[in-house]
Amino acid sequence: MRQLWSLLAAVALATPPPVTAQQQPASPGERLPVVKHVLPNGMTFLLLRREGAPTVSFVTHFRAGGVDEWTGISGTAHLFEHMLFKGTRTIGTNNYAAEQALFPRIDAAADSFTAEFRKGALTDSTELERLRIRLKQLEDTARQYVVSNELDHILTENGAVGLNASTGSDATNYYFSLPANRAQLWFILESDRVRDPVLREFYSEREVVMEERRLRVETQPFGMLIEEYLAAAFRAHPYGRPVVGVASEIQAVSRNSALEYFHRYYGPNNAVVAIVGDINVDTMKAWATRYFGDIPPGQPHRPVVTQEPPQRGERRISVEFDANPQLLVGYHVPGLQHPDAPALAVLAQVLTGGRTSRLFRRLVIRDRVATTIGAFQFPGSLYPRMFTFQGVPIAPHSTGEIETAVYEEIDRLQRDPPTDEELQRVRNQAEAGSIQRLQSNFGLAFQLSSSEALWYDWRRTFRDQAALARVTAADVQRVARTYFSPNNRTVATLVRPARPAKGGTN
């Protein structure tokens, strides 16, 4: 199974797709007057002027994600994302020289801490705590030179909204919106921080990221189930690693590793900025050159070479957590660039999209076995990924009953293709969705920037949406037969430990 689609992927890369853009009428999104402006250093700007309120949204994607990490530094892409809010040699400090002079001592203290931590079972906890306190004291000494969260302060007083960032498996993004008359501020601050970030307060931020991990994964049944499920599904490809990082690696990552990650992946040639709103396109072009033009290019981004080997039989795991059962069932499917991707998206809609979908009708409405049934493809889209069903049973029904229903409906789809009515519903929903996505400056900027960063083509996402309308019943049946076989399957079930911990009973 996996061999077959690996072969297909290779063919798709080697030859032009059978249907070219010219042969299909362009969708409304593809016709947007986006101006693509590429600086000599490779930094790409997508500029779109829109009528409406005088606001402007900025979204930058870097081709730098969790998959680009190397062994032992998981979580660094994400930790580095946090560090880009800590400032530069001028923002976030009142005396950079004095501050910087302390970094070697802080890093040495961190190395001692890490050395003790690395002993694992042999770690001396008293010594570890002593080293932790020493590290904290040193970093607190440096803090006298820190102007805390200055980037936030400047943007807040200028009326910026939505300042945030997120790290994914494939890429990392940074964004905020400004009143249109203050657009130049983005150029000044952003060019400063991507040119010259200072990783101050690094080790206390490492602790913050550990708390983020506890908040999203370790204390959350669904977060924990997802993490274990991906680890079971991928044994070679980095999609199996948590983007937030493995706890022991978060606690051991050094400032230098994070800087190394930055130098490898954050060159301007790996950045795509979308600017959407009430803008003057020529002014944006001029400012792009003025503020970013002299940043030297970095190494081009090289896709991950690892391919997940074909799966040799079903994998089945249980994850113990003091909570009620949940289920994930998934199949390896190709990445988004594969010609089968639109048919897989339609298949997901036929089975779980809306109250009239096959699995929802069966599990939620007819049999009352589940509170919800959904399907999503993740953890990224650049590389082959997991087509995943998520189900939550209603006691006394079990996750096994949800599994059975999923397998039977897949069998049925392999035998009988979807009806015209089902396909029409999916087309209408896709059309409405693609128009609704054009509503906000931010949403549009995010899509343009992401599409260009991942596919080197801002129209690609619009085209993928439009492609759903051309998927036939036979296409859906074919992909159902191609990918959804038991030996390509991973099943993860959340189960309560035999003896629940105190206080967590239900």
């Binding site: 001028t90 923002i91 130049q184 009973t505």
Partner: protein, 481 residues
């Protein structure tokens, strides 16, 4: 804005660091300071206000940029206006409006229409208001409005769908303690508000046992009925046509039935109190607070409390709580405050965080200190200016699109605020002084009288929780709702 930046530039100037001059980013402060922003010329479009023949008010704002229409209906009564015995039915009456079919259409037929035309039709019954949101492609406006109104006017509450809802709610009840956040939210409400309906968010098994189509109908006829509505329409439509359509849709819709009550008065628990719910997690969920003492009104105290909340914990990284608990200490990913205010009554002030188990007690003590610092270490003119500049400079984001502008007018009308409330608010915020922030903090924030609710594993804490005061254990199974 000027003050902090000048200070920054000054510090740079007096620190002779040679390499800086060669760094391209060295003059970032100077560059920002030199920026001359052109004035922002913007007159947000005003929705048109129309009164239908049944005296329902409609706010309309056309925007033909995209072929999409958005209709919001807000009813000025909610679940807290129902008798206590119907709270659970009311809390779930919204979902059943969507799924239960109509007297004319089976539930399946409704689902098919919604999915085929890709309509978004959803209902939500909240504590003191009830909402319907109808949106879709404008070429299906008739289908959207016909179906959405039919669902509200003549709900079927099909028995099979009531049974599904009951089974799902029973499962929600079973899962109520699965995440620390769910335990904390419910424990906090029970401790601070007792059994008052405004503090509730989960239906109990006893209430689920009382789900019947008739009881749902009784509730729906009172929460979704003509006289209680305010309507907002935005997007791609022609005013005349939509108004005529609404007139026809309201024709023959029975008037609101009696039987609702005023929301009973709320009494908030008095601190100091420390309540512990044990849960085996490596991160402690914390909430602390008390009655907030403030109402939404054109008063100096209200505006000062808004600025105080912004600077204490309402504005993320520029606030004291996140700076101290996260950035400086690394104790937590998230820490915040929320100084609530309402037009009708005093709301709650509270602060929250999820803190590493081994720093739980130190973290709570730090949060308490930071709350107290609003009075003991008064905010500066620079701090207040930050909050004011943020409000003034970001105002345009409150008017970014037609549905947001219409939604704002709807919420002012529901709250009984004037249509120009945003201008009043902005002026009020601009008038706040550091001394007012100090006074309002001193008068209304009581770090020594906090009700503190903690969900976590005490054996992993840095020290005994009793260091913060006498601890009342609250077993997780005695969170009743």
């Amino acid at each position: 804005m000027r003050a902090p930046l000048s200070l920054g530039a000054l510090l740079l100037a007096v620190v002779p660091v040679a390499p800086l001059a060669q760094q391209p980013g060295a003059d970032t402060h100077a560059r920002i300071q030199a920026l001359q922003f052109p004035p922002l010329r913007f007159n947000p479009p005003q929705p048109k206000k129309v009164t239908l023949s049944n005296r329902v008010t409609v706010y309309l704002l056309e925007d033909h940029a995209l072929p999409v229409i958005n209709v919001q209906l807000v009813s000025r009564v909610g679940v807290a206006n129902l008798p206590d015995s119907l709270w659970g039915v009311g809390w779930q009456a919204d979902g059943l409006l969507r799924t239960g079919g109509t007297t004319r259409l089976t539930p399946d037929s409704v689902d098919k229409l919604v999915d085929l035309y890709a309509l978004n039709i959803s209902f939500s019954t909240d504590h003191e208001q009830s909402n319907a949101t109808l949106s879709g492609l404008s070429r299906y406006t008739d289908q959207l409005l016909d179906l959405g109104f039919e669902m509200m006017k003549s709900p079927r509450n099909d028995t099979s769908r009531v049974r599904i809802l009951a089974a799902q709610q029973e499962e929600n009840w079973r899962r109520r303690n699965d995440t620390p956040g769910s335990v904390l939210g419910r424990a906090w409400s029970q401790v601070i508000m007792g059994s008052h309906p405004l503090g509730r968010s989960l239906v109990t098994p006893d209430e689920i046992a009382g789900f019947t189509p008739d009881r749902f109908r009784w509730v729906q006829q009172r929460l979704y009925c003509p006289q209680n509505f305010l309507i907002g329409v935005s997007g791609d439509f022609q005013e005349r046509q939509v108004v005529a359509k609404l007139e026809s849709l309201f024709r023959g819709w029975a008037p609101c039935q009696p039987g609702l009550r005023e929301v009973p008065p709320v009494t908030y628990a008095q601190g100091p109190r420390v309540v512990l719910v044990e849960k085996d997690v490596n991160q402690t969920n914390i909430r602390m607070g008390h009655g907030g003492g403030i109402r939404v009104a054109n008063t100096p105290d209200y505006f000062a409390s808004q600025v105080a909340d912004f600077l204490l914990g309402g504005s993320g990284f520029t606030s004291r709580l996140l700076a101290r608990v996260r950035s400086d200490s690394g104790f937590a990913y998230s820490a915040f405050s929320a100084w609530g205010a309402d037009t009708k009554r005093e709301d709650l002030f509270f602060a929250g965080a999820q803190i590493r188990a081994e720093k739980s007690v130190a973290g709570i003590a730090l949060m308490r200190t930071v709350i107290g610092s609003m009075a003991s270490e008064p905010v500066t003119a620079k701090d207040v200016k930050l909050a004011q500049d943020n409000e003034v400079n970001s105002f345009v984001f409150r008017f970014e699109n037609a549905s947001q502008i219409v939604g704002q007018q709807l919420s002012y009308a529901v709250d009984g605020l004037p249509a120009n409330w945003f201008d009043v608010y902005l002026r009020g915020i601009q008038g706040v002084t550091p001394e007012q922030v100090r006074q309002v903090s001193q008068r209304y924030l009581h770090p020594d009288k906090l009700v503190i609710v903690v969900v976590g594993k005490p054996s992993a804490f840095d020290k005994a929780l009793s260091a913060l005061g006498a601890v009342t254990p609250l077993p997780v199974d005695s969170i009743r709702r």
